[in-house]
């Protein structure tokens, strides 16, 4: 397929950009380019056809089943896109007066409030652009915490050997040394080994729970306490939050700092459809190190006008009267609810939003302004669409779907750990490879011929010939049945006609790619013909 640069013809173009409606400003001297950039020159129709053709050659969650483990490729509801496309959200600039962007400020504050509630954290920054960026931010918070206490010998971050590869990478990027601790026979953190590993040089622990073999670590409270007692902090990798959202909170498990992937758990697009967003949350004791300025109510709640005050007070009085009429045990609960509503009204409706001072010991901004704002709009839309009941129900269905699919394929391919899983599970094809020469890679490629995106392969590293499947809550029983049937067929082919699987995929726009060649001799740029 031709690149857009190869389609370019001098002098062609399209009128997608509006005429300039501001005075032209001439740059001087050093800021001016010496040569014009070599942008492709194509007509609008050729441009559209180019991207349409590219889209046809891609496989997204809108095209078919996408059980990519630890990536939570759930459906991205279209209402999220509709809300994020509202002009009030798109036709703004981060530097325009705050009085003109109060709605956007409210979105950020509301998203922060909900995400804090879901994760059990006290503060949240929307700056990090994606998960690994969030991890780095979290590691820098932990580093700043120890440095502020002049506890500089804490240089080691403990990471289980089942961790996402980004965990040790982020810790090293933040200047820590990484200690890897083994998993036990059940796929959980080996608590005895963890005890041996901690000391006065422990800066913290990075953990995801449920972990990458799809199991909830039942020793989680003991694990986080071991780290706290040693003087370290606990970091929660939010990649697998989908399994527990609305059911259990990292903040209650003893974690001090977390990142969330809005593009996984909160249904915003990723995998080529991004950008992502990796908000970082922390407990109060880390707030003083957070990046960026927090959003706050300008005059605490004195900003609300009198009429609004009256309305809110009246509503509260009515609630109180209703309460008095109730004598049963429910009344306490209702009283709390009424207070919460009043508080929420004060905080949200009556507020005039402004930026507070940058935290005194802030690690500094990790990204300009407020991160990928429109992704936050989509995630907030998702949270508000599902609501208090829908959020935990989504987690339940994610776990149910994973267990359903696992139970259908566990007799075909052995499951690495456990009888039940959370939101994902890991198969091992080690025996199959010995028996037939068919590796996890071949089965993954075979799935492509059935229109299914491959699962995560060769991860976690503690499982040989691993395939990690995460169906997510949005898949129907029929889709899961079909996927199980395809995996059964592939096993049959592996045993009867392994060469056919070695050659897969054959129905895709490109066949088996030379992954080794691509890694050894990557071609990362286009050479213009001179």
């Amino acid at each position: 397929m031709e690149l857009i640069f190869e389609k370019s013809r001098q002098g062609r173009g399209c009128s997608l950009l509006p005429a300039c409606d501001v005075p032209v400003y001439e740059l001087d001297g050093s800021a001016v380019r010496k040569k014009a950039p070599r942008l492709p020159e194509v007509a609008e129709i050729d441009l559209i056809r180019h991207y349409s053709a590219l889209a046809k050659r891609a496989h997204g969650v809108n095209d078919g089943f996408y059980p990519l483990g630890s990536c939570t490729m759930k459906y991205n509801p279209k209402i999220n896109e509709e809300i994020a496309a509202l002009p009030g959200f798109t036709r703004i600039h981060p530097l325009q007066p705050l009085s003109m962007s109060q709605g956007c400020m409210e979105v950020l504050k509301l998203a922060e409030t909900y995400l804090c509630e879901i994760t059990g954290m006290d503060h949240m920054t929307m700056q990090p652009a994606a998960g690994a960026h969030g991890e780095l931010t979290g590691m820098l918070l932990i580093k700043a915490f120890h440095q502020a206490r002049k506890d500089t010998k804490r240089t080691k971050i403990i990471v289980p050997d089942s961790a996402h590869g980004t965990n040790p990478a982020s810790a090293v990027m933040a200047g820590f040394d990484v200690i890897s601790i083994p998993s036990n026979a059940e796929g959980m953190v080996d608590v005895a080994k963890l005890r041996e590993a901690v000391g006065d040089d422990t800066a913290g622990l990075m953990l995801t729970n449920p972990n990458t073999v799809g199991l909830f670590d039942k020793n989680i409270l003991e694990i986080t306490e071991i780290i706290h007692r040693a003087g370290g902090l606990n970091y929660y990798d939010g990649a697998n939050l989908n399994a527990i959202m609305g059911k259990a909170r990292p903040g209650d498990m003893g974690f001090d700092v977390i990142h969330i992937n809005l593009h996984k758990t909160f249904a915003t697009p990723h995998g080529g459809g991004g950008p992502g967003s990796g908000p970082v949350g922390c407990k109060d004791h880390l707030a003083v190190f957070m990046p960026g300025a927090p959003i706050q109510d300008a005059a605490a709640w004195a900003g609300a006008d009198d009429q609004e005050m009256e309305l809110i007070e009246k509503a509260a009085e009515e609630q109180a009267e209703e309460l008095a009429a109730k004598q049963d045990a429910e009344s306490k609960e209702m009283e709390k609810e009424a207070k919460d509503i009043l508080k929420r009204l004060k905080e949200i409706s009556g507020a005039e939003w402004e930026f507070g001072p940058i935290p005194a010991l802030s690690i500094g901004s990790v990204r300009a302004f407020y991160g990928n704002f429109l992704v936050v709009v989509k995630a907030l839309t998702y949270i508000m669409t599902l609501g208090r009941e829908g959020i935990p129900e989504a987690a339940e269905n994610a776990v149910l779907n994973a267990n359903y699919l696992m139970s259908k394929v566990k007799d075909l391919y052995p499951v690495a750990y456990g009888k039940h899983c959370m939101h994902e599970f890991v198969l091992t094809l080690e025996e199959l490879k010995k028996e037939t020469g068919i590796a996890a890679m071949d089965v993954a490629k075979g799935l492509l011929d059935f229109g299914i995106h491959p699962p995560t392969m060769y991860f976690p590293l503690i499982v040989h010939e691993a395939l990690m499947l995460e169906p997510t809550e949005t898949e129907s029983r029929e889709t899961l049945d079909d996927a199980a049937e395809m995996l059964r067929k592939l096993l049959e082919i592996a045993k009867s006609d392994p060469d056919r699987l070695h050659a897969a995929p054959v129905t895709t726009p490109v066949q088996r790619l030379d992954e080794v060649g691509a890694a050894r001799h990557p071609k990362l740029h286009y050479d213009f013909p001179e």
Binding site: K434, Y458, E515, V516, A519, R520
Partner: protein, 126 residues
């Protein structure tokens, strides 16, 4: 699968060849390169770095994963095999010829296996 007798092995699939009491070459075994698959990147220490028996001294990357390589001996890196940096595939093609580092001032070594013992270990794992 080859198990040359002029080198000693670690359980974690590295080999060491003593040139004399104080000097040794270190690489990965035939079994290791076969399990890792086609290697696409090798990260080596710098000359004059110290290495410790039983600790990682390098990492190798295949299209599947990045793996640590453990050092069979304690000493100082005298030389690295720079050819591997451009051609990591040499580790696949000739695992016992493609040494990774040359260590001098060797003072200690990890638990090492003979070719027979290592071959037995691989047979048991399979």
């Amino acid at each position: 699968m080859e198990f040359p007798k002029d080198v000693l092995y670690m359980k974690s699939h590295e080999w060491v060849k003593f040139l004399d009491d104080k000097t040794a070459l270190v690489g990965i075994s035939d079994h290791a390169q076969s399990e890792l698959g086609d290697l696409v990147f090798v990260n080596l220490p710098l000359p004059e770095d110290t290495v410790t028996a039983g600790e990682p001294f390098a990492d190798v990357e295949s299209v599947k994963a990045v793996s640590d390589v453990y050092c069979p001996v304690t000493g100082m890196v005298a030389e690295i095999n720079e050819a591997l940096l451009d051609k990591p595939e040499l580790l696949n093609q000739d695992p016992y010829g493609a040494w990774m580092i040359k260590v001098t001032q060797v003072t200690d070594h990890a638990d090492l296996l003979s070719a027979e013992e290592y071959e037995k270990l691989i047979a048991e794992e399979a």
